[in-house]
Amino acid sequence: MNPLSAPEPLDVGTPSGGTPSDFEVALVSLNQWQLAWRRFRRHKMALFGSGLFLTMVGIAVFGPFIFPYNPIYVPTPLHFCPGSTTQLAYNGCPPLTAGHLLGTTGSLQLDLLTLVVNGGRISLLIGVGASVFAAILGTIVGGLAGYFGGWIDTIAMRCVDVLLSLPILIVITVFAKAFGLGDWRIIMVVFAALSWPGLARLVRSLFLTLRTEVFVDAARAVGVSDRRIIFRHILPNAVSPIIVSTTLSIAAIIVTEAFVDYLGYGVDPAKTPTWGNILTNAQSSIIVGNWWWALFPGLAIVLTVLGINFMGDGLRDALDPRSRE
């Protein structure tokens, strides 16, 4: 027998224990997104959150067909609430009074259910729209700054720093008041314009780190152009945190926008209701016992935001390749 070769198996009948491959770990190849989807599906809270968010979106999209809102219609003011001789209608009628499942607001005595259901559309549109615009803008600026560095980076980041040092609430309020004109589309642009710096900073640090990764060097060594490196190599790796951040910022924008509306500087309640502007005069009625006026629009916000937060967290866990189980 050749001393340098591997020993031959003994010829005494084959063992019936199976071949080595029977006991090897099964390898099924999944790409990044399939893996992420699988992890997301397993995450109970993420599914619950997505369900919640989609329910609110559903209400916002289909609700107005069931409960259409007419901005011109103001009901004839009643003195007492229907079915009561003591409840002043001016303070708002409680839930489950005739024809008003969630009750009415004070003063104008508008039906709360109609308002809340219709308010969802604009609130959600502003939230999602502003978030997406801000994400695109922030990614472009942050990506260029992080990848090319140098003076592009310095200028961009100084701008971002200054913008981020401004008291965001005040600035948004100011711009909404100055340019908003009560029109939700302009308000959405205002929010987008003031949200992108945060994401730009995130994207810049992502690109900075990814740029130093070995696979970028490898791509450059083969002669890949800058543009291709950015789009084909770096961006897919950066996309996960960007998605997570964008999702979570939808929630932040919805909340901030609601406050601006509440102050009266946002969307004009005479044109369209939003969850925020329904609340504008609610505080004064609380003291006379009107708990529903403030509760239901806020509850709508809370449920939406809760859903988004669960979903965002689930996305973060699902998309992070290094997540701990």
Partner: protein, 355 residues
């Protein structure tokens, strides 16, 4: 390190100036102090013109800014910027003159001084409670992972983080400040039936003679606003502390400490916590501006006579001297907070070195 701090402070100045320029133009663009007379039929055009002239509103915006900051005045620009003692001007922010309110004519500095203390009280109380609760809860949840407390904290975190601050304030008022439960007051800093207005001389006299009652009253008024203010922050931060602590507990050096025979409590509090707090400390520094935003909201809801509420009120009147004064102070505060966060990071983590 000292050099780095000084350098950052010097760099902060042009940033602040830029911020004030931006804010000034924003304030003036979004409203004119004379707007509040627009609906009043008794105010004649001549009176409005006189008002505008008196406040310098008829001058070009850059000149108005220059006046406000103290570069322009009686003397030529460059000279005017110097301190009055050596022949410079005496107007504008550079010389400590923050102007007067277009709404009620009072000096802006007086207004700020009066409003500063309530905000400081609110924010300091909130800050202490926030940090303490967030760290304690986060650490305990991390150490007793999978326990009931941990699950409860996670739920609380999600829900608490999702509550809009202003709505939470409204709900707390609805629950606790109106009948049937009237545990806490719905607004204000003091019970107007029993104590004089906060900050007035009468109040301090009252405070001197009945300190316990005054403090108790103040405390009672602080409860709801502080809960409103810190809810979101505690919810977010305790999660962060928890995950940071979990990360730290998974590190090899914790295993080494255990292998040395270090008692478990010491392992957690000395070895793991010290490392876990590093990112938490920077985070806390960076969240101070967020706390101030929250204070603006809280003060509005609870009619707390602080700087945040002053901002919202002045915004309504387009009272730009007051707005600029408050914003300058808060922007300085934000910039300093960021710098402090960076310095703290270098102080507590020996691996970080600035030069």
């Amino acid at each position: 390190m000292i050099k780095y701090t000084i350098r950052r402070c010097i760099q902060a100045v042009p940033v602040l100036i830029l911020i004030t320029i931006l804010l000034f133009f924003m304030m003036r663009v979004q409203g004119n102090p004379v707007d509040r007379f627009a609906q009043n039929p008794k105010v004649t055009a001549a009176q409005i013109a006189a008002f505008e002239h008196r406040w310098g509103l008829d001058q070009p915006l850059p000149i108005q800014y220059c006046d406000w900051i103290g570069l322009c005045g009686d003397k030529p620009p460059v000279i005017n910027a110097l301190p009055a003692a050596i022949g410079g001007g005496d107007n504008g922010v550079l010389h400590g003159d923050f102007g007067f309110s277009t709404f009620d004519g009072r000096p802006v500095i007086d207004i700020i001084a009066q409003r500063a203390l309530p905000t400081i009280i609110l924010m300091t109380t909130a800050y202490i409670i926030w940090i303490t609760v967030a760290i304690l809860a986060g650490v305990y949840a991390a150490v007793k992972r999978y326990s009931l407390f941990d699950s409860g904290l996670t739920i609380f975190n999600y829900v608490g983080y999702s509550l809009p601050t202003f709505w939470l304030g409204l709900m707390l008022i609805t629950l606790f400040a109106v009948p049937p439960l009237r545990w806490f007051p719905a607004s204000g800093m003091n019970d107007s039936y029993t104590t004089p207005g906060f900050g007035t001389d009468a109040y301090w006299a009252f405070f001197g003679s009945n300190p316990l009652f005054a403090i108790f009253d103040l405390g009672r008024h602080l409860v709801l606003p502080v809960i409103t203010l810190v809810m979101v922050s505690i919810a977010g931060d305790s999660r962060f502390v928890r995950s940071s602590m979990l990360d730290s507990l998974n590190q090899d050096y914790v295993k080494t400490a255990r292998a040395k025979g270090v008692p478990e409590r010491r392992v957690i509090l000395r070895h793991a916590l010290r490392n876990a707090l590093l990112p938490v400390i920077t985070n806390i520094g960076l969240e101070l501006p967020v706390l101030f935003s929250g204070a603006i909201v809280t003060e509005t809801i609870f009619a707390w006579p602080g700087m945040g509420r002053q901002l919202i009120e002045s915004l309504g009147h387009a009272d730009y001297p007051v707005l600029m004064g408050v914003l300058l102070i808060t922007s300085t505060f934000v910039v300093m907070a960021n710098l402090l966060a960076d310095i703290m990071y270098a102080v507590v983590d020996p691996r970080v070195k600035y030069d």
